[in-house]
């Protein structure tokens, strides 16, 4: 076979035609005309000598949301094949955690999915608490819920800003980041850091919320729904936005389940699967909120689902602030949690506990635990294998972005290359979480 034929990818019979695969049948209905008329139009038969063209999108590409590399095979402007290539921010977090004590591991997990740091810390702490059979005080559970939901809002706001930027709506970036700064101010007030706060500890949270925090949080909760209305007023009647979103990247619920996709993507396809309802953790069963679902699972549904989720999160935070119980914010078990600072000056026992915890850490009984929570991107699971020492034998994270990325090929193949950018935007992958 000549080089030319190899390059073209089309042969006279020696080599199977890459376009003769089963997906050829499916994508036949997708043409450029779809964009013009908004509905699928039967395309003409492919010219037999149409050239296939392989391009490399990434790892440095402004619209890949991080250092994602996509190997795309194009036929004109139609995407025939997409292969995600990952590993460009592989950080060795899981391996590093095997050399760290349990309480130091929180710092590592937070840096995986860097938009959902509270969710990362939550799933890890929850898994360790399961192994320790440690009860978390009610106030700590509520404080966790408040921060998790604020984190969901911040993450979705960042998604909205950057995704709209990919489609061309640059105003959304300024607007969404303005509101996101409010949330980060709250995080800074309660924990001292804007990002990677390390606020969640095994057995509770680091510190109680400071005076004035609640008022500032309520101020934000009052502000956000109005701002969301403004965003929707800007986007929902924008013809370009609607054309780029509606009927783009449709994947059915069954296919998404087969891939293991969770989170807003699955909910946009009509499946109300949300671990906050399905397997409540941290007192989520005590709050009244709804699970927004879409209808057909296109990009527009994904956008609407996330917007509705932010409104639901506002409700959850408001309810948690209303019903915030009194009590300790971290467990009083001195074998797990540090004693209060003032006790060190008066109590020898407290000093010993403090010294043991800081130098050796706490030992976790041998066993294994898997704990999953609903992060802003889907099911975020943490598996820990404990061997009885103060360091985990193995930590594995089931990151939602990693699993969800599989669906990108099914969303994009057969569509336009511009629609693939919209699909990536609405998929919301975080490469730090994928590569870890």
């Amino acid at each position: 076979m000549s080089d030319e034929e190899l390059e073209r990818g089309v042969t006279g019979g020696q080599r199977p035609d890459p376009l003769a695969t089963p997906y050829r049948e499916r994508e036949r209905s997708v043409t450029m005309d779809r964009v013009a008329h908004g509905a699928a139009v039967e395309t003409a038969e492919r010219e037999p000598d149409t050239e296939l063209f392989t391009i490399n999108l990434g790892p440095h590409h402004p619209a890949t949301h991080g250092v994602l590399r996509l190997l795309c095979t194009l036929e004109g402007e139609l995407v025939r094949e997409v292969k995600p290539i990952i590993g460009y921010v592989h950080t060795g977090i899981e391996k590093s955690m095997e050399t760290q004590q349990y309480w130091k591991g929180i710092t590592f997990v937070e840096r995986m999915d860097y938009l959902a740091y509270f969710a990362n810390a939550m799933t890890y702490c929850n898994a360790v608490e399961t192994l320790l059979e440690e009860e978390v005080p009610k106030r700590a559970q509520y404080l966790r819920v408040i921060h998790l939901e604020l984190n969901r809002i911040a993450s979705h706001l960042f998604w909205l800003g950057t995704s709209a930027l990919d489609i061309g709506a640059i105003t959304m970036l300024w607007w969404a980041l303005r509101e996101r700064d409010h949330v980060l101010d709250l995080f800074e007030m309660s924990s001292g850091q804007r990002m990677h706060t390390r606020y969640f500890q095994v057995g509770g949270v680091m510190d109680d919320i400071p005076p004035g925090w609640e008022a500032k949080c309520r101020e934000f909760l009052d502000l956000l729904p109005g701002r969301l209305d403004q965003y929707e007023a800007l986007l929902d009647r924008n013809e370009i936005w609607l054309q780029r979103m509606k009927n783009v990247g449709v994947v059915s619920r069954e296919r998404l389940l087969a891939y293991g996709v969770t989170g807003p993507l699955l909910r946009a396809a009509g499946d109300p699967w949300d671990l906050r309802k399905a397997a409540p953790y941290s007192s989520y069963d005590e709050f009244d909120f709804k699970i927004p679902v879409g209808t057909i699972g296109d990009c527009y549904d994904r956008y609407r689902v996330r917007m509705a989720e932010m409104r639901e999160s506002v409700k959850i935070v408001a309810q948690a602030l209303d019903g915030l119980p009194e009590g300790p914010f971290i467990t009083t078990n001195r074998k797990v949690a540090l004693p209060p600072r003032h006790e060190l000056a008066t109590s020898m026992e407290a000093l010993i506990h403090h010294f043991k915890l800081v130098t050796e850490g706490f030992r976790v009984p041998a066993g294994e635990a898997y704990n999953a929570i609903e992060s802003p991107r889907g099911e975020l699971g943490c598996y820990i294998l404990a061997d009885g020492s103060a360091k985990p034998a193995r930590v594995h994270i089931r990151d939602p972005s990693f699993v969800n990325l599989q669906a990108l090929a099914e969303m994009s193949e057969g569509g336009l290359i511009a629609d693939m950018i919209a699909n990536i935007a609405m998929l919301d992958p975080i490469l730090g979480g994928i590569d870890r």
Binding site: P59, H60, P62, G66, V67, G87, Y88, V89, H90, T91, G92, I93, K95, S96, T107, F108, R111, Y114, L115, F158, G161, T162, L173, W174, L177, R178, R180, D181, R194, M195, H196, L431, G432, D435
Partner: protein, 208 residues
């Protein structure tokens, strides 16, 4: 505090705004002559060297490459996108997608061993003069990820001009780092990195 009020009129000193406006008007009409013209030119014209003017322009139009690596990229986007920070005050908000058009690359996040050759390639594609900011602990020194996967500092494979500590640095820290870089550019655009890295002879043009 005592408030001093003065009347604007022709009897005011030459430094007065109205007087200056009038003399500018006269100059444009060609009515300004003799000593008045001499004084006007002395006041208005500033002499400098071409290099200094060039550095001034470079310093105030330092366009970053739209390049994010990990967590720090979020704070970098916050600096560019958030109205609170607004890096365009310093002329560095024009994010370029192509390395050919960018003056500065902000290494925002951890540099993995797989990514390092790509960053080097992007850096090589940038046109001189070019500057590098290592943002955050990871790209400065691998930070907490002292393991098999992360390059211990981006200065292992390219010259870094400014290091910004933090994990991730606050947006204010990044802005301060960009300001420090601007000060360096204003002082000397070459920054002497070729000497530091023994890279003389790699200039893109003989007179660069």
């Amino acid at each position: 505090m005592e408030v001093v009020r003065s009347k604007v009129g022709p009897e005011q000193s030459p430094e007065d705004l109205r007087t200056r406006q009038l003399s500018a008007q006269q100059l444009l009409r060609g009515d300004l002559e003799g000593d008045d013209l001499e004084r006007y030119v002395e006041e208005r014209v500033m002499l400098t060297t071409l290099e200094k003017a060039q550095n001034w322009a470079r310093r105030n139009a330092c366009w970053p490459l739209g390049f994010g690596l990990a967590c720090c990229a979020i704070e970098m986007i916050t600096v560019i996108g958030s109205p609170r920070n607004d890096i365009s005050r310093f002329g560095a908000e024009v994010v370029r997608a192509s390395p050919r058009q960018a003056d500065m690359i902000i290494l925002s996040g951890r540099v993995s061993i797989k990514m390092a050759p790509i960053i080097r390639r992007i850096y090589d594609q940038m046109l001189e003069p070019k500057w590098v900011i290592a943002m955050g602990a990871c790209s400065s020194s691998a930070g907490m990820f002292n393991n098999y996967a992360v390059v211990a500092g981006a200065d292992k494979f390219l010259p870094v001009d400014v290091y910004i500590p933090g994990c991730p640095p606050r947006p204010e820290a990044l802005m301060y780092g960009i300001n420090r870089l601007q000060d360096k550019i204003a002082a000397d655009p070459t920054l002497g990195w070729r000497k530091r890295y023994q890279a003389e002879g790699t200039e893109e043009s003989p007179d660069a």
